[in-house]
């Protein structure tokens, strides 16, 4: 795609701004900031990738993946800002998820250990884990509040914090994993997923593009489940004291 063609894509942004002005949506400012940030960030990443691909050095790959995980963890942790130490818990959950995904993919030789493969696929894994983590934190807090009385009753009958919270954790993990499972059922019928689209545009045959897409979809399903389970089990102890008491200050509603 030529630079002229690239610049012409700004027509879409211009159109959105016009729509926003016309309907008084007040989105212009955010749109401009978003557009500039997207362009700068992606261009920058493009150059970084260029360098990392050239160097083919493991430390750079690892460093880049670590930056991805850090940014993702920080972003997802905002959803649970009342939970003590939430950033570290999310960081650990996303890291475990990425390490497991890479162990399987590289260990079974599904993808070659080169930056062209490891970095984009890690990006998808980490990005997906981030979305799942944010969703899970949101859901965990609302489910804890909805089930607060049940938890108190269970504790009062002599349940440990873990026993009392288990039904809530199950519900939350399910909620965090269902979207991607639904996605598995409709993919290809409703939309052609991004990776496949990209490969086809870049000239890869649809047959090969489909194989890659399946790899991604299957691995992201496991990623969602792993991230949700690890994060749920890392987070619930923060909601209780050592004496199996519900910590009301860690939930959004007080009293």
């Amino acid at each position: 795609m030529s630079i002229t063609a690239l610049l012409l894509t700004l027509v879409f942004i211009g159109l959105t701004i016009l729509l926003s002005l016309w309907q008084r949506l007040g989105l212009e400012r955010d749109l401009l900031i978003g557009t500039v940030r997207a362009a700068l960030q992606l261009t920058l990443v493009g150059y970084v990738l260029l360098v990392v691909f050239e160097l083919r050095e493991w430390p750079f790959i690892v460093l880049m993946v670590m930056v991805m995980i850090l940014v993702a963890a920080q972003n997802a942790a905002r959803r649970g800002s009342r939970i003590p130490g939430v950033f570290w818990r999310v960081l650990a959950a996303i890291t475990v998820t990425e390490v497991m995904a890479m162990l399987v993919m590289l260990g079974l030789d599904i993808i070659p250990p080169t930056p062209q493969y490891v970095i984009p696929i890690s990006g998808m894994v980490v990005g997906n884990a981030m979305v799942v983590a944010g969703l899970l934190l949101n859901r965990l807090q609302s489910e804890m509040e909805a089930s607060r009385q049940q938890i108190m009753v269970a504790l009062s009958l002599g349940a440990t914090a873990r026993q009392a919270v288990l039904p809530v954790l199950r519900k939350t993990v399910r909620a965090g994993t269902i979207p991607i499972i639904d996605n598995l059922k409709t993919v290809g019928l409703v939309q052609l997923p991004g990776m496949m689209t990209g490969l086809i545009i870049a000239g890869v045959s649809p047959e090969v593009a489909v194989r890659w897409q399946l790899l991604i979809m299957f691995s992201l399903t496991a990623v969602s489940a792993i991230c949700a389970i690890v994060l749920a089990f890392l987070t619930y102890p923060a909601l209780f004291t050592a004496a199996h008491q519900l910590r009301t200050d860690a939930l959004s509603r007080s009293g």
């Binding site: 009385q149 009753v153 504790l155 009958l157 002599g158 004496a243 200050d249 009293g255």
Partner: protein
Amino acid sequence: MTNSNLLPVPEQEPLFLLDDLWKSRFDGKNRVNVLEGVSASVEAGRIVTVVGPSGSGKSTLMLLLNRLEEPDSGRITYLGRDLREWNVLDLRRQVGMVFQQPVMLSGSVRENVLYGPRLVGEERDSDPEALLGRVGLDPSLADRDARELSGGQQQRVALARVLANYPAVLLLDEPTSALDENASRMIEELVVGLQREKGLTCIWVTHDLSQALRLDGETWVFDSGRLVESGSTMEVLSQPRHPAAREYLKSRLERGEAR
């Protein structure tokens, strides 16, 4: 010095000893005291009714007694030992709690009743049908979904569920406030029966003064986080000494007459 000819009289140790309990909570932005220096004792086998305006700290006190919450300062001893020295899970089984809202756990009535015993692997020794019978429920309800029962039935399931743990103490936080007259009386008779037969100690929060009179034990009056009056129920309700207690009782009686 004690006279060596006399056997030492074993002093009856109180079951619960509450020593200068303070507790505050965040109420939106401000920290407000819910309990201000509450001291009291409960003898084994008694029924204590706890009365006082809403928000005077009664429910909070209940949560402290089975350590679902912690006081900011002060000390509670149970059977002569600080609550914090007890295994909290054992303590909660011994000091059972019935909440105001009968909250059913998911599953059947039987699963609800067996919840406590299952936690410690004692479900074989439990007889859920017999427990249901004891709280006046038809044992054939055991396999029904607990959430489908009426409020009165659910509160009785909640009671059976606590009793399945063989508690020595029952904390009851307005267990009958959502129930009709018949269902309330049934629960009262049941608990009084257990107290008489099994020596169960009961601490019962209520808004209903006639209920306190029927339970006829000891009564504590709370006002703004303070225990302002305590004594035998008859005495406290007929001749309150503290002005706040007098005012509360008067307002309750007026409301009762208007009904």
